[in-house]
């Protein structure tokens, strides 16, 4: 039987297990509930230090067989469905032990971080884990460290790293409840990435409505601009300009590049023929390209290359017959290698498909439709989002309709268009069939 009364925080099934478990099992589960993961040696040490408990022989196997514990590569973890309630119960029952346990876990992570790690990515990783544990010992320091982790992700793959940080923040929401603005930001980011658009607008709107001269505000302004661009281009442009200016003031390079890239795209949307909007877009995209080149993030650079090429191409086409065909050909010849480089440098299949589609459009419009459709068909072997697939299909259809395209090119364009159609339509049917058949 349990060594304490059943906490009110536990739902009934969990309370039933709690009541039936041995005291050391409950304490071990509580320690795992406040941890990310622990090896058996680490858990053994914590049981002794925090609770003065020496677990019995064979205890690790007993723990692995508990319904609230799971095993994985790095050791033992508490199930997500049990962790919040068990942690809350632990906190309510013994706040001092709860704080001491978090302080020990902070020390453990700092020891790991300092144990001869050479890569900056490792230091960043452990700093975020430290922030997780600080939530139970010093919530203000935790929030500040989480923010740094979010804003200073190492290397490529910024979105994945930011989502990981965000998932850690949201797991500590209860302990960070006094930091509502920061929690709104992280909730908003999570909703943004997972496509919960309305929730993201609301959460990020709370951050933007209380602007501060900090990097979190700059990120929120940029993301909110993306979320409102289809319904309110003026507001989106205003938000994006603010994000760019704020990022410049704060020397927040990565957000400056992302926001300026979005702003260039918004200016292109606003362009109706030659004029200030297009010139603005080209200038922004050009400046941004040189910034991104210095940063060393292949995906970010690829996206900036695509925007720059699109802006220059749109600028030239907007001039219509005023633009010399030979000059258009020369422009295409200068931009196509840029787009090819973008496709080769990034693992982001979405960026690859958009770059390939733009490249095909340029080649086709400079009377090289056969090469255009060949290159595009080759890029289409990659998986992509519905949005990217529709873009590929639109370009293929445009090539098919070009009067200068030969029969073989038209056939190839027709075939590619049909392949994309089949992918878009049958994929949905296949999905439904697979999901419902069993």
């Amino acid at each position: 039987m349990s060594i304490t009364a059943i906490p009110a925080e536990l739902p009934r099934p969990l309370a039933a297990w709690f009541d039936s478990a041995a005291g050391w099992e409950v304490r071990a589960a509580e320690l795992l509930a406040i941890s990310l993961s622990l090896s058996t040696d680490e858990l053994d040490e914590l049981l002794r230090t925090v609770f003065d408990i020496t677990p019995p022989d064979g205890w690790a196997d007993v723990l692995r067989a508990l319904p609230v514990i799971e095993s994985e590569a790095s050791g033992l973890v508490c199930k997500a469905t049990a962790a919040e309630a068990l942690a809350a119960a632990f906190h309510a029952r013994d706040p001092d032990a709860f704080r001491v346990a978090h302080e020990l876990l902070v020390d453990l992570e700092r020891e790991r971080r300092d144990a001869g790690l050479e890569e900056s990515g490792d230091i960043w990783f452990f700093d975020v884990r430290v922030a997780f544990y600080l939530a139970g010992a010093d919530p203000s320091a935790s929030v500040a460290q989480f923010e740094r982790g979010f804003l200073e992700t190492p290397g490529d793959g910024t979105t994945a790293a930011r989502m990981w940080v965000t998932s850690m923040v949201l797991r500590q929401q209860r302990l960070l409840a006094d930091h509502e603005r920061e929690l709104s930001f992280f909730r908003g980011f999570s909703n943004y990435v997972t496509g919960r658009v309305e929730e993201a607008r609301q959460d990020l709107g709370k951050v933007v409505d209380e602007p501060r001269d900090d990097r979190i505000t700059a990120v929120a302004e940029h993301l909110l601009a993306v979320l409102v661009r289809d319904r309110d281009l003026v507001r989106a442009t205003d938000l994006c300009r603010r994000a760019v200016e704020r990022s410049e003031q704060l020397d927040f390079d990565v957000n400056l590049i992302m926001a300026a890239n979005t702003l260039a795209g918004l200016r292109l949307r606003d362009a109706h023929g030659p004029g200030e909007a297009i010139e603005d877009a080209v200038r922004l995209a050009k400046d941004n390209l040189s910034r991104a080149s210095r940063r060393g993030d292949a995906t970010l650079l690829a996206r900036c290359q695509i925007t720059f090429a699109r802006a220059r191409w749109t600028q030239a086409r907007a001039l219509g017959t005023a633009f010399d065909p030979a000059a258009l050909m020369a422009l295409a010849d200068s931009l196509v290698p840029l787009l090819t480089e973008a496709q080769q440098a990034t693992h982001d299949t979405e960026a690859v498909l958009f770059a390939a589609a733009l490249q095909a459009e340029m080649l086709a419009e400079t009377d090289r439709s056969a090469r255009a459709i060949g290159d595009l068909a080759e890029a289409f072997t990659l998986p992509g989002s519905t949005r990217a697939l529709k873009r590929v299909r639109a370009v293929a259809r445009a090539i098919r309709e070009r009067p200068t395209a030969g029969p073989a090119t038209r056939d190839a364009a027709e075939e590619l268009s049909a392949r994309v159609d089949a992918e878009l339509v049958s994929a949905r049917e296949r999905h439904d069939e697979l999901l419902l058949a069993v």
């Binding site: 319904p67 590569a73 790095s74 199930k79 790690l117 490792d122 990783f125 793959g157 994929a427 999901l435």
Partner: protein
């Protein structure tokens, strides 16, 4: 490295296990959609047991502590094949810059070199976010040929699984019904022989788990308490 199956894990999963047995014969990619609390890890253990009953090696990969949990699960599985033992933290594991496709290729090479066809079960691969195109392509690469890859997800909203060429079946894990929980309870070490005591135990379970369908994790906790 197979974790033991406990008696309380055997609740209403025959449909999924039948799919797993089919997967052993057919190869390809099989996806079981499970959110938190839906018994994904218990099912992984049951699948590993079923595979081993058929004489197949089963390797379960799972690592939710990494930034990219698909990469973490693949590396976990790969490490078990080449050097079983606890993971050490380090850059190569946590933030490896090797493309996920290359890790899948390493893993496939190891699996191809096994004396018997192995089964790979990957858990919680989309723990923090949906899997992107590169991740799906890596799973496709792994599941081509005779390999069997069974993925048990963490979050089934964000990943376009239908984009995988090798995908054989998707199935969402459901909640349990009370009769299935009660059937499992009869295997409890403390299940009484006396009819009155049985009725009392059943009433206790009904009281704990309430009306309607039951979240698998709730059922597991309530059943384990009987032991």
């Amino acid at each position: 490295v197979t974790l033991p199956v406990e008696w309380w894990m055997r609740v209403d999963r025959e449909g999924e296990l039948e799919i797993a047995r089919s997967a052993l014969d057919a190869g390809g990619l099989w996806v079981l959609l499970a959110e938190d609390g839906q018994g994904g890890s218990e099912l992984a253990r049951l699948i590993a047991e079923a595979a081993e009953e058929r004489g197949r090696t089963c390797c379960v990969g799972r690592d939710t502590q990494t930034v990219d949990t698909l990469r973490g699960a693949l590396l976990h599985a790969w490490r078990q094949l080449i050097a079983p033992g606890p993971r050490e933290f380090g850059m190569s594991d946590l933030m490896s810059r090797e493309p996920v496709g290359l890790i899948a290729q390493h893993l496939r090479d190891e699996l191809d070199g096994q004396a018997e066809r192995a089964v790979l079960v990957l858990e919680q691969v989309d723990h923090a976010r949906g899997i992107d195109g590169a991740g799906l392509a890596a799973l496709d690469q792994l599941a081509r040929g005779e390999q069997t890859v069974i993925v048990i997800t963490a979050n089934h909203r964000g990943t376009p699984w239908r984009r995988c060429d090798t995908l054989r079946k998707l199935r969402a894990l459901g909640r349990f019904r009370m009769e299935h929980v009660l059937a499992a309870a009869e295997a409890a070490p403390t299940w009484p022989a006396d009819a009155d005591a049985q009725r009392e135990m059943v009433q206790g379970l009904r009281s704990t788990l309430g009306q309607g369908t039951i979240q698998p994790d709730d059922a597991f906790s309530a059943l384990a308490a009987l032991a």
